[in-house]
Structures are given as C-alpha cells and as structure tokens.
Symmetry: C2
C-alpha cells in the first residue's frame, strides 16, 4: 500500500504538505501542488479511508435508511436511492445502506461508531419512533416525509397537498362537477402516513373552493374493479377521476373501461405518478420527481454538514403534464 509519506518522499515535501494539497486547507504554491499531484498519480496513491476518518473525525459516508414496507412503490424508492448515491458522490461522499428493520439500534450504531457523518431517513411516519433518536444524535439528519411534529428536524417531501389540489382544480376547470380521488390502499391511511392524508386534504379543499363534489376512496391494486364499480354506482354523476396509487393505475384504467366508459370522452383521468408510468400509459399526470427528492435530500444534508442551517421544511413542487387521458382544454 502506498501511503502519504511515500508520496511526500517522492515529491520531496513533507507529509503534511501532501495533506494540504489534497484538502486545500492551506495555501500551497502552484509548483508544489503540481509536483505532489504528479507523485500521487505516479504512485497511484489513495488515502486510507479509516485513517482519514480517525484523524479528521469525518468518514465522508452518509447513511440512507430505506423502507421495507408494503404499499410503497419499489421503483420510486429505488430511483430515490440511486439519485441519493449519485448525488452524494458529487459531494465526495459515499452511501451506507440501512434497512428500516434495524430500527433505532441501527441509527445509534452507525452514528455512535462514527461510521457515518449524517443520516437520511426515508418514509418517515407521522409518529415515527425514530424521531427522538434522530434529535438526540450528534449527527445531522434529513427526513424524507413529514412527521406530525417536525420541530428541530429537517424534512423534505413532495408537496402532496398542492398535488391533490392541482388535480381537483384541473378537473374542475375542465368542467367536471363530481370528481373522485382514488388513493393508497387502506393500510397506508391506517398507518397515518402523512402523504396520503395531505393529498386528500388538498383535493378536498380545492374541490370545495371550486364548488364541486369530491369523493375520496382508498384502493387496493388487487381490488381496482370493485373500487371503480362502487364509485360509479354511488356517484352516477362522476366524470373526473384522480388516482394517487401507482400500482393501481393500470388496473383502474381497465376497470373503468370495462364499465363502458371511454377515456377521456366520458371520464377524465389524471394520475399522481412518476413520469415514466404516465408517459407509458399516455396519462395526464402530476409528476412526482423521485430523483429530485433524493438529490435535494442529499443537498440539505451537505448544507448541514457544512454547518449551515437549511430550512426545516422543504416541499418539492410537482407539475401537471397534460396527456391524452383528459380532453384538451
């Protein structure tokens, strides 16, 4: 293994100079810098991560806690994970993966042993048991999702309230007088995951403001047919549908078509879903930018690692993209 002293000898400087060249924490003459860099390349030097972590009290690794639970769309999680890893690399950090089932102990372990400098927690619940731990840890963290009591924490999420409202407004603007939001499976609501509630709230608020009738119904992807039938039976005037449940989108489309409704002629259909899905099915949609969320979470974390104080709450806007599941306006 080639170490810093080898580089120093090769370049004819002291080890500390090599260190300063690498860290940029003191000024170095151009000439010296160049010589050192050449030696580094010539010898193929790579700083030992452990030694660096020990001496500098920074591991340059962040932890990412991924959810395991049902009802969350795996590809989206994966997109965020990939985005987080990619983004972390641009800040010269690596990502250590933690699963949610390691729970509180896992957080304490990686933080306590200085394995990681900071933590990103995905899929935060309203009353997440990890919140007190996160608050007590001596390392910064960023939560993806908003708990009921976010004070003292840095949180980021999509603006589901706005997304729900945008659906209702758009459908109302198209002239629909009775609209429905088909949401996540019942289990998600029961868990008190914030996003489902917030979408619903936005949808209902905007509908009320526009004076249109709004109904909201949870939906299991395996029972899409039932959901469609129920809705159309109980609300014969229903002509606008918003769906916030990726895996249920396709089954729901089939289900509504099976009732004889044509989309967009008889029914306007809008999905809150990632772009790739909406594009594939050619659906008008509110996009939820998964990569963007992963990237921003890392950016916030880096802010904190740099000693700054980023905003406690960040809501990522989504945008409405009109495709062919709603009539041209």
């Amino acid at each position: 293994m080639v170490k810093i002293s080898d580089v120093a000898r090769h370049a004819g400087v002291s080890p500390s100079t090599v260190s300063y060249v690498l860290s940029g924490k003191r000024s170095i003459s151009d000439q010296t810098r160049r010589r050192v860099m050449d030696s580094i390349r010539a010898l193929g030097y790579r700083p030992h991560a452990g030694a660096r972590a020990l001496a500098s009290n920074r591991s340059n690794v962040i932890a990412l806690v991924v959810p395991l639970r049902s009802g969350i769309h795996v590809p989206i999680v994966m997109q965020m994970v990939i985005a987080a890893v990619t983004s972390a690399r641009t800040y010269d950090h690596d990502v250590l993966l933690l699963t949610q089932d390691e729970g509180i102990g896992g957080l304490e372990r990686v933080a306590g042993s200085s394995l990681v400098d900071a933590i990103i927690v995905m899929d935060v619940e309203m009353h997440d048991v990890r919140l007190p731990v996160l608050r007590s840890l001596d390392r910064p963290s960023v939560l993806i999702g908003f708990p009921a009591e976010p004070s003292g924490l840095t949180c980021i999420d999509w603006d589901f309230e706005a997304a729900g409202a945008a659906c209702a407004e758009y459908l109302a603007d198209l002239g629909h007088r009775e609209i429905a939001l088909i949401g996540a499976p019942p289990a998600v609501y029961e868990r008190g995951t914030g996003f489902a509630e917030r979408t619903k709230a936005g949808f209902q608020r905007a509908a009320a403001e526009r004076g249109v009738i709004a109904v909201v119904r949870p939906c299991d992807p395996d029972h899409a047919r039932e959901a469609a039938d129920d809705l159309l039976r109980d609300h014969p005037g229903l002509t606008g549908i918003a769906v916030h449940n990726e895996p249920a989108v396709e089954p729901l489309l089939s289900a509504f078509r099976a009732t004889g409704r044509r989309i967009p002629d008889d029914l306007s259909f809008i999905a809150i879903a990632p772009d790739d899905l909406a594009e594939r099915l050619d659906l008008t949609s509110i996009s939820i930018p998964a990569e963007e969320l992963g990237r921003q979470a890392v950016a916030l974390l880096m802010e904190k690692l740099d000693g700054h104080q980023p905003p406690g709450a960040t809501l990522l806007p989504s945008r409405l993209v009109v495709r062919s599941s709603t009539p041209a306006a």
Copy 2:
C-alpha cells in the same frame, strides 16, 4: 466520546484487555469479561469505526454495486439489495452502495482506499469490463451473474438453464407438442446478458429431448400484443407458453386472452418469475428466489473474507409451483 481507555479505566483493566474481550482473539477470564462488558454498557461505549479499520485493516463494510439499466426488474433488484444488507448485518458487516455508473473507477476507489473489505457486483455481463479490475483488486469479490470467462472469480446466479428446461419438460409432460418461450426484450439479448441465453438453451435442449417443437421469441412489454399474435399466427399448433420476462407477464396474459384463448383450457401458461407476481396472478411458475441470491452472495463473500475458497460457481435451484394457469396434471 467514550473510548476504549475510558472503558478500561472504568473496569480496572488495560485497553488491550478490553479489545480482546470485544474481539475474542485471546482468552479472557469470565470475571474480567463480565466486568468489561458491564463497563461497556454503563458507559455506552462504541468502538470508533475508523480507528478500528485503521488498526485492524478491516472496515467491516462491503460494497454492493447495483445495476441501473433498463430491462431489469427493479423490485427484484431491491429484494436482493435488502437481502444482502440484512444478511451482511448478521455477519457484523455493513453495506456501501455503489452505482454501476461509477464504473471501474468506483471499484478502484472503494477498494484502494480500504473503504470496503470486499465487493459484490450485481448484473454481470458476458464480457463485463469490470472483470479484469475485479481480478486485479486485492479484495475478494462475488459476482451475481455469470460472465463468459469466470475463471478466477466467484460467481453465483439462478440456474436459468434448469429453469428453462423445467418449463419445457413440464409443458411436454402436460402433453403439449408445440411450445414457446417468450423472453426478455431484444435489448437484453443483444447485450449478451447470460441469463436470457441460458434459459433459452435449457428450454430448447429439454424440448428437443422430449421431441416437442420449441420456438423462442424476445418480447418488449409494450409490444406484448404483437408477440402473442405473431406466435399464434406463425405456430397455429402452439398450446404451451413459457414466459421469462416479469413486466411482460400481465400484458401477455391479456394479449392471449384477447385472441380468444382460455387459460389453462386452450393454453398452458407458465412464468419464470418471482413468487409474489405468480401468486398474485395465480400462475404456475418457476420461482426465482431473489432474497436467497442476495443472501448467498454475502455468504460466499464472508467465506472468502475468512480466507476460505468457496466454489467458483454456484447455481441456485428454482422450483416449480403449480397454480391455475396450467391444467392439473
């Protein structure tokens, strides 16, 4: 921060004794061990990961390189990742996530800086550019997938050859005389990813042995209808279908039903797919155990880290589960 010397003082022993209690590398009297453990708990001591890595030359972290490419089923990747992380934890290791797009440089970086002790590479191609690097690295690695030239490397994968053969044999045994294998999108074959070829080979070999006619066709999930129509037109006697392409399974089912064929009455349908998908659709299937693969890959890696020499090639058997997309035998 509480360090090993604090624990030592508290327990009335030397730091080295505490270290030996923790590592078990020398015998320690029960009495001393107990006193030390009590002090550790009392003080909430956690060894500093960096210091440990520096002194022991072991980081207790493994790298996992995840694929990013199209044509691979994301939920399966995620399952393997989760299984790998969970499994690594049982060996007291953590997992650092690397994306494929960091390429060779990423491998050299994490290995060269001693950030990780070993590497798992997912989604290995036939002529993967990473193979020479992996061979030259001073750290052990395990590949998920088989390259064309696996010598000197440890590889593990599902036994697709056997899975393909099992499909053909099962369909033949049901009495079908003309059978088809619908495979991955064309791009996957073009890439020379081994698994697609191996499934095909097994399917064709077994079909030949049983004396039944076998056709093989790639399929893009978005063109399932086309695939089904083509096959039935060109092979009117076709009555047995095997599918090795998760995202295409549902579209294909719809497509075949749309031609008027009933499953299983007119057509036997068997999928090479993860259990959850097959269960949901109630399909006879060859299961591909994703978790098992992640777990075994870690197990192999740990063998190598322990200085053992595990087999160079491991093929994970899959099993056939009869559900209702094929007639009862």
